[in-house]
C-alpha cells in the first residue's frame, strides 16, 4: 500500500491518497495534506472537516452533499449554503477533497 510520511511516521493511504485507518488521522495531518495541494486550511475549511468527521462517527459514511450544504448554510450563513461555496473551499469537490483531508474513505458504487 502507498503511504504518506508525516512526523516521522508512515501513514498508510489508498492509491488516491485517502487515509486507510481512521485512527491515523490528526489535525496536523489534514494541514499537511492540504499544504501539499497548495491550500491553507481556514476556519471555514475546518467547519467542513469537523462536520464530516462528526457525521462519520455517527453514520459510518460521509454525508450526502445535500446534508453538507444545508449544515454549512446553517453554521456559516445562508449565502454560503450552496455547492459553489464548497467548491471554492475544496476545488476538487467537497465529496473528494474534503473527505480526504478529514481522513474519511471515499464513497464507492454508483456515485
Amino acid at each position: 500500500m502507498p503511504y504518506i510520511e508525516f512526523e516521522g511516521k508512515k501513514i498508510e493511504v489508498d492509491e488516491d491518497g485517502y487515509v486507510a485507518n481512521l485512527d491515523d488521522w490528526s489535525e496536523g495531518l489534514a494541514v499537511y495534506m492540504a499544504q501539499k495541494d497548495g491550500i491553507t486550511l481556514t476556519d471555514a475549511h475546518w467547519e467542513v472537516i469537523n462536520f464530516l468527521r462528526n457525521y462519520y462517527e455517527k453514520y459510518q459514511i460521509a454525508p450526502m452533499i445535500k446534508i453538507l450544504v444545508k449544515e454549512i448554510g446553517k453554521v456559516m450563513g445562508p449565502e454560503k449554503g450552496n455547492t459553489k461555496y464548497l467548491y471554492e473551499l475544496f476545488p476538487d469537490g467537497p465529496a473528494k477533497q474534503a473527505c480526504r483531508y478529514a481522513g474519511l474513505p471515499k464513497p464507492t458504487g454508483c456515485v
Binding site: 488516491d16 491518497g17 459514511i61 450526502m64 476538487d92 471515499k106
Partner: protein, 539 residues
C-alpha cells in the same frame, strides 16, 4: 469518485487514431496506459467475501502476486465454464470474424485501439481456448489462431476485459448473435479466480455483502437520508410526505439503487418517487437490507451476483409483500428480467403484480414479480391518475439516453419516453442509430465508473456525448434524462467534459417537478431547490 487523473483536453482526445499497429495482434504487446485502467482491489475486500488470492496488488507493477499454479487455475476455470455454459462454448467456436461488430463498440470508436473491437476482444480469450481445448489449436498453434497462456496474455486479458462495459451493443449487430458481454463476464470470472478484480468493483461488493448496499449505508443512515429528502420536499411543496421502513404487511417492496439515497442528481429521483407514492397513496415500504437494486457482484462472478441478490426475495418474503417495484437502476434490470427466474424462480411466494391504482396486470413480470417503475408510472399516466403540469419543466429541453441494460436486456423503450412527453413540453430524440436498442453506453458501466480511468471513460462515452452534442446544437437540449444510477453518476462528468451546460437527471425527477399534489403550495422551486422560471421564482 477517485481523485487522480486528468484526461487530455477534449480537442486532443477527439483526434482519434484508427491506424492499426504494423505487426499482427498477437505480436503487439499490451501497453498499460495511465488513465485507461483502474486500481487493483485491496486484500480486505476480497477477504470480506472469501474470494481467492487476497493480497494488495497493483496492475502497474510487474509482479501481480499470482499463486504459483495460476495457469492451471485459469485453464480449469475455462474447462468448467465450457461445460456449464453452452453459450460460452458456442461463442468460442462460431465467430467467423466478419467484423460487423468492430465499429459498434464505443471504446473502439472513442479510442481507436483495435483490441477494443469486440471481435478482437473475444479473440484474446478465444486464442487461449483454441490452444488448450481444440485439436487444431493444439497441433497448429499460431497458424490456427491459438496461443499459449502466459502472464503477458493474462495481463492483456485483464486490461481489455476491464475496458468493456458489457453493454452488448456489438451483439446486436453480430449475425450469429455472439454476446460479447457474456464473454467478458466469463473472462472476468476467470480473472477473479486469481483475485484480479478492481478496487472500484470489490469495494461495493464488500459493502453490499455487509450492509445490503454498495455504499455501505447502514439502516439508520438510510432512514436519515430519506427523512432529509422528505424535509426538502416539504420546503418545496408544503406537504409532509410519509414513508415506512421494513414494514411487514405492506403491499409492495420498493427497491432503488443506493446511489439515489446518497448523491445528486440521484437524490432528486428518490424525491420524485417519494412524492409520487405519497400522492397516489401507495401501500409500500423500503427495506434497509434490500436497499440496493444494483449488484456489482454481477461484475465479479455469477456466484457473487447471486449471493448479493438473495436479500431481495428474502426480504420480500419476510415482510410479506405481494410484489416488488424496482427503481431507476440499469443492470438491476438485466438481472431481474433475465436471471432471477433461472436462479430462484418463479417466485411463487409473491403474487402476480397488479397496480393497486389502475388494476393493470403486469403480465411481463409474472415470473419475477418485479415491475419497473417506468412501467408503473406510465400506466398511471395512461389511466389519467396523475395531475401533471409539464410547464414546470419548461426551463428544460430534454433528451433521453436509453440505458444499455434496460433497453437491450429488457426492451424498455416507450415507457420512459411516454412519461417524459407527459411531464415535459420540450423533448427531442438523439439520432436513431444512437438510441433505443442501438443506444451508446455511458462509457462507465459494469463497474468502470472510477476516477483513475478517466481517460477511458471520456473516450468510451465519446459516441454518446457526440449524439448529445447534435441535439444540443440543433434543438438547444440542456438536460440528459436517463433511468440508471451509473448514468447519473457518470454522465455529469461526461457532459462537463464534452458538452458543458448539459445537465443530467432521472425521469422521476421530471415527474416530481410536474406532479400537482393535493394541497400543495404554489411551486416556486424545482426539486433541486432552484427557482422555477416564470413560477414566482426568478426568470
Amino acid at each position: 469518485m477517485a481523485t487522480k487523473g486528468k484526461p487530455p483536453k477534449p480537442e486532443e482526445l477527439s483526434k482519434i487514431d484508427y491506424t492499426p499497429p504494423k505487426r499482427g495482434w498477437m505480436d503487439t504487446p499490451v501497453v498499460f496506459k495511465p488513465g485507461m485502467y483502474c486500481h487493483g482491489t485491496r486484500a480486505k475486500y476480497l477477504e470480506a467475501v472469501g474470494m481467492p488470492n487476497a493480497r494488495d496488488w497493483s496492475p502497474a507493477e510487474e509482479d501481480w502476486k499470482l499463486p504459483p499454479e495460476w495457469k492451471e487455475i485459469v485453464l480449469k476455470g475455462i474447462k468448467e465454464r465450457l461445460q456449464k455454459y453452452r453459450t460460452f462454448h458456442v461463442f468460442m467456436d462460431i465467430c467467423v470474424r466478419c467484423g460487423a461488430c468492430a465499429d459498434k463498440c464505443h471504446f473502439f470508436l472513442g479510442g481507436g485501439d483495435p483490441k477494443n473491437m469486440p471481435v478482437l476482444r473475444a479473440e484474446l480469450l478465444r486464442s487461449v481456448y483454441r490452444k488448450y481445448f481444440t485439436t487444431a489449436g493444439k497441433f497448429f498453434g499460431k497458424a490456427a489462431g491459438a496461443r499459449e497462456l502466459t502472464e503477458d496474455v493474462l495481463k492483456e486479458l485483464w486490461y481489455y476485459y476491464f475496458q468493456c462495459t458489457e453493454c452488448r451493443r456489438c451483439s446486436l449487430f453480430c449475425p450469429y448473435g455472439i454476446d460479447q458481454a457474456e464473454i467478458t463476464i466469463i473472462g472476468r470470472e476467470l480473472l477473479n479466480l486469481l483475485g484480479l478484480n478492481l478496487d472500484w468493483i470489490m469495494g461495493p461488493v464488500a459493502n453490499s455483502y455487509r450492509t445490503g448496499n454498495h455504499l455501505g449505508l447502514e439502516p439508520h443512515t438510510i432512514k436519515a437520508n430519506i427523512e432529509f429528502m422528505i424535509d426538502d420536499i416539504e420546503t418545496i411543496t408544503g406537504i409532509r410526505v410519509e414513508t415506512t421502513f421494513n414494514r411487514k404487511g405492506a403491499e409492495i417492496l420498493f427497491v432503488a439503487p443506493s446511489g439515489d439515497l446518497f448523491g445528486v442528481p440521484g437524490n432528486y429521483v428518490a424525491m420524485g418517487e417519494l412524492m409520487l407514492f405519497h400522492e397516489i397513496g401507495l401501500d409500500y415500504t423500503w427495506s434497509t437490507l434490500a436497499c440496493e437494486g444494483g449488484n456489482f457482484g454481477f461484475f465479479t462472478s455469477m456466484e457473487m451476483a447471486k449471493k448479493l441478490y438473495y436479500k431481495i426475495y428474502s426480504e420480500a418474503k419476510r415482510l410479506g409483500v405481494k410484489w416488488i417495484l424496482g427503481g431507476e437502476c440499469g443492470h438491476q434490470w438485466r438481472l431481474m428480467n433475465q436471471y432471477l427466474d433461472t436462479w430462484w424462480g418463479p417466485a411463487d411466494f409473491l403474487e402476480e403484480p397488479v397496480s393497486p391504482i389502475t388494476g393493470t396486470k403486469f403480465e411481463n413480470a409474472k415470473g419475477s414479480k418485479v415491475v419497473h417503475i417506468t412501467e408503473f408510472t406510465a400506466d398511471l399516466i395512461r389511466h389519467g391518475k396523475l395531475k401533471l403540469d409539464p410547464s414546470r419543466n419548461d426551463h428544460l429541453r430534454v433528451t433521453f439516453h436509453d440505458s444499455c441494460n434496460t433497453s437491450r436486456a429488457m426492451g424498455i423503450f416507450e415507457e420512459p419516453r411516454y412519461i417524459i412527453k407527459n411531464v415535459c413540453n420540450h423533448f427531442y430524440e438523439m439520432p436513431e442509430s444512437t438510441i433505443r436498442e442501438k443506444t451508446f453506453c455511458c462509457g462507465s458501466g459494469s463497474g468502470l465508473n472510477a476516477g483513475e480511468n478517466i481517460e477511458l471513460r471520456m473516450r468510451g462515452g465519446f459516441p454518446r456525448a457526440n449524439a448529445v452534442k447534435y441535439v444540443k446544437e440543433k434543438f438547444g437540449v440542456n438536460m440528459l434524462a436517463n433511468i440508471c444510477a451509473i448514468d447519473r453518476a457518470a454522465l455529469p462528468t461526461l457532459m462537463d467534459y464534452w458538452n458543458p451546460g448539459v445537465g443530467v437527471c432521472g425521469v422521476h425527477e421530471l415527474v416530481g417537478n410536474a406532479l400537482v399534489m393535493k394541497g400543495e403550495i404554489e411551486r416556486t422551486l424545482d426539486l433541486r431547490g432552484e427557482p422555477l422560471p416564470g413560477k414566482g421564482g426568478t426568470d
